[in-house]
């Protein structure tokens, strides 16, 4: 982004030379990228490309076989990383309101009963308002729609003021309307609260208007840079190791692999595979 300090003090996440091997299979190889405060980064790749593994490495749940991950330390032992995992199923019968789940974001890891306090309540109310969830704050969280739950999970993740917010496929299973709402909300959070947002998705199109940086995963390796730099025929052909076409249609990008001549000869789409 122009006009934004890119010096070391603004760097939130540094992933350097990370390789991951899980039960003998190499999932990620020599992955290096850096993210700065307030940046909106898309982690793009097809299913099984290693996006979730990379997120779990950043969270410290998987130890890489080589390389380092450094997350900028915040003040006073706050959880530094906000995290919204993939596919959460919340029991609709569960007696837990949206506001209770957001409140657990403040102190859910601490021992003892949550004592009611005016400060805590105010903090939760402000957070609910920030993600536009005041309307359903007192509803059971399991009864909310996918988009509403996603907003509550985001509120839960950022109420403790992390510097980095990781979201694993938050747009999966959302209708187009709520997809757009969630993307806009995340872009606003990144901008206003200077949180670095890293969001994984197999479809980059909803993120195109707001993405500052892209980390594209394929074959266990990544390509990173601006969307224009990474999502080009040249760069993705190099990453995938097969010929890749990048097609722009109606402000959408389609990435397809396959040999064009062959496809034309056969007059069909058999050898064309849509990648993401």
């Amino acid at each position: 982004m122009q006009g934004r300090a890119v010096d070391g003090s603004d760097e939130i996440l540094a992933v350097d030379g990370v390789s991951v091997t899980l039960s003998g299979r190499e999932i990620l190889r020599d992955v290096t990228f850096h993210i700065n405060a307030g940046e909106f980064t898309g982690l793009i790749g097809s299913n099984g490309a290693g996006k979730t593994t990379l997120i779990r490495v950043i969270l410290g749940l998987i130890t890489p076989s080589s390389g380092t991950v450094r997350v900028e330390s915040g003040s006073r032992g706050h959880p530094l990383i906000g995290y919204v995992p993939q596919r959460i199923t919340l029991d609709p019968d569960m007696p837990l309101r949206a506001r209770d789940l957001v409140g657990l974001g403040i102190d859910g890891q601490r021992f003892g009963l949550p004592l009611p306090s005016a400060t805590r309540r105010k903090q939760v109310d402000e957070m609910l308002d920030a993600v536009d969830a005041t309307r359903f704050a007192d509803s059971r969280v399991g009864n909310l729609s996918g988009g509403e739950q996603q907003r509550i999970l985001i509120a839960h993740a950022i109420i403790s003021h992390p510097r980095l917010l990781l979201l694993d496929e938050p747009l999966a299973n959302l209708d187009i309307g709520s997809e757009q709402e969630v993307v806009d909300l995340l872009a606003r959070i990144a901008r206003e609260q200077r949180i670095a947002v890293l969001i994984s998705t197999h479809d980059m199109n909803p993120l195109l208007p707001v993405m500052d940086r892209i980390v594209y995963v394929a074959n266990g390796r990544i390509a990173t840079g601006t969307t224009a730099e990474v999502v080009s025929s040249e760069s993705l052909t190099k990453l995938y190791g097969v010929h890749v076409d990048v097609i722009h249609v109606h402000n959408r990008i389609l990435v397809v692999a396959g040999r064009r001549e062959e496809a034309l000869q056969h007059g069909g789409s058999e050898s064309i595979v849509e990648l993401v």
């Binding site: 969270l59 410290g60 749940l61 959880p79 990383i81 995290y83 919204v84 995992p85 959460i88 919340l90 029991d91 019968d93 569960m94 007696p95 837990l96 309101r97 209770d100 789940l101 657990l104 102190d107 859910g108 890891q109 601490r110 021992f111 003892g112 009963l113 949550p114 007192d138 509803s139 059971r140 839960h156 993740a157």
Partner: protein, 281 residues
């Protein structure tokens, strides 16, 4: 109805109800009803074993239920949780039948281990029951928040340093201790009812977690109190009343929830209809 032996019965049953109400709330939240069924079975085998070698029943209950809890947690990490739990039940019940075949206990004593003997609790047994009860409640309140986080969103909890396995072990040991103190009072089969029904009924009445837990305690207390009174008056077994009142409170909860849902949705339907009428006219 409130003197001597009966007083001890009221006291012990009340302690069991309070603990079962609190622990049951988390059993519902975590969906661990199967473990809550398995551990009392294991405890039953322990009590049978204890009588065989001539030690206190509570010691046998504690050793076997805690062993069962740790085994379920350990096996559950690698295999499917329900399969691990089922294996624990089967092994424990097998041991129980072996111990029973070797013991010279009279049938009524075994019957009381299974179905409880609330009138048979002596005042000397009341002290360990109370101590274990206090330990269980204190432990539940201590881990309330991390256990809640881990039950609702295990992945998020893990990323925040609240290990799922650690929480599972802690919780199952609390269930095992609850079982230990409850089996002599309400029996191995009926503690299951007190762990499930009150909490399941409570969640129909409120959206708030802490209120639901309190309500679960009140329903559990109401269940055992009315069961004791009815058993005393009718001379029918107490277990019959615990089981059927428990199921009754759950049914009442569902009916209440259904009635409230209908009431909430009625105005919306009426509003929609009147808008349609305006458009037509």
């Amino acid at each position: 109805m409130f003197s001597g032996l009966m007083l001890t019965a009221w006291e012990s049953a009340s302690i069991v109800a309070v603990v079962a109400g609190v622990v049951g709330f988390f059993i519902g939240l975590r969906g661990s009803a199967f473990a809550a069924h398995a551990l009392p079975n294991g405890a039953f085998a322990g009590a049978a074993g204890a009588s065989l070698i001539g030690v206190d029943a509570i010691a046998g209950l504690a050793v076997f239920s805690i062993l069962g809890a740790l085994t379920i947690a350990a096996l559950g990490r690698r295999a499917r949780h329900d399969v691990a739990t089922a294996l624990v039940i089967v092994v424990m019940l097998g041991l129980g039948s072996l111990f029973l075949s070797m013991t010279t206990e009279y049938a009524p004593e075994i019957f009381s281990l299974l179905f409880g003997e609330v009138l048979g609790v002596s005042s000397s047994e009341l002290i360990p029951i109370a101590i274990i009860g206090v330990v269980c409640i204190a432990a539940m309140f201590l881990v309330y928040r991390p256990l809640m986080l881990s039950s609702v969103m295990p992945d998020v909890a893990e990323a925040r340093g609240v290990g799922s396995t650690r929480m599972e072990v802690i919780f199952l040991v609390i269930v095992a201790l609850t079982t230990t103190m409850a089996v002599p009072v309400v029996g191995a089969l009926l503690i299951f009812s007190l762990l499930i029904s009150p909490a399941a009924a409570a969640r129909s009445f409120t959206n708030r977690p802490f209120t639901a837990m309190g309500l679960s305690v009140l329903i559990a207390l109401g269940t055992v109190w009315s069961a004791i009174a009815l058993a005393y008056l009718s001379n029918l077994p107490i277990g019959f009343f615990v089981g059927s009142i428990g199921a009754g409170t759950y049914a009442a909860g569902r009916l209440w929830a259904g009635w409230k849902r209908n009431r909430a949705s009625t105005p919306r339907v009426a509003g929609g209809r009147s808008r349609a009428q305006v458009q037509i006219s």
